[in-house]
């Protein structure tokens, strides 16, 4: 029962709500995997989002300084280019570290109901 003493043990402060929202997580993860950025329509396909949803969430991410959006034109057709900022990349790395903590907390319990004395989550795989 010693775990009960550790207040906030499962608070996961590192989970950044700007990135955590499901659609935005999808957007940020996709852009993190494409360092040169993605065009609006490609990003939309990768995340399976509607135009409206992608626009709305891109705006939140842009206002938070996580994503930069550039408009240009190619062959007289307008193009919207989306890319993670340096801040966005850093915040996503911190967010992923928080997710790893959730996963490492959960996995030992799923694999065996009892572990040796090693505190959970302190030694991620």
């Amino acid at each position: 029962m010693s775990e009960l003493k550790s207040e906030g043990r499962f608070a996961y402060e590192g989970i950044d709500r700007v990135i955590h929202e499901k659609a935005r997580l999808s957007i940020v993860a996709s852009l993190a995997a494409h360092p040169d950025g993605l065009q609006f329509n490609d990003l939309k396909d990768q995340c399976t989002l509607t135009d409206g949803n992608l626009s709305r969430h891109l705006q939140v991410l842009q206002e938070a300084g996580v994503v930069e959006v550039k408009k240009s034109s190619k062959n007289n057709r307008p193009q919207t280019w989306c890319k993670l900022t340096a801040t966005g990349r850093k915040r996503f790395a911190e967010y992923v570290a928080a997710l790893e903590k959730v996963v490492s907390d959960a996995l030992p319990r799923q694999e065996s109901t009892r572990r040796s004395g090693m505190p959970r989550g302190l030694f991620p795989a």
Copy 2:
């Protein structure tokens, strides 16, 4: 650019919105680590939530069949006991598998900017 062809590659359909919300993730992860359940006040401390927030999110989880809440009394003092249901345990396991996918998609990119030809996320560590 072959990744661009894989529509929905970053949609993360396995992310269950009922569990994904930050406070609820905290509650479910904490209960998953305590198979016998937790009392309301202990759960509140583990998650660093207010009484109102914990009540509200417990209700959502209860309505979704993820958590069961039992009220009893001990030494004439009312007690509220919270526990994951079998369904909740299963849904959390599926959710954690989706998080592992997010983490495995992100980590190679953070560790090296270029990988060998192995598709990302198909072979989690």
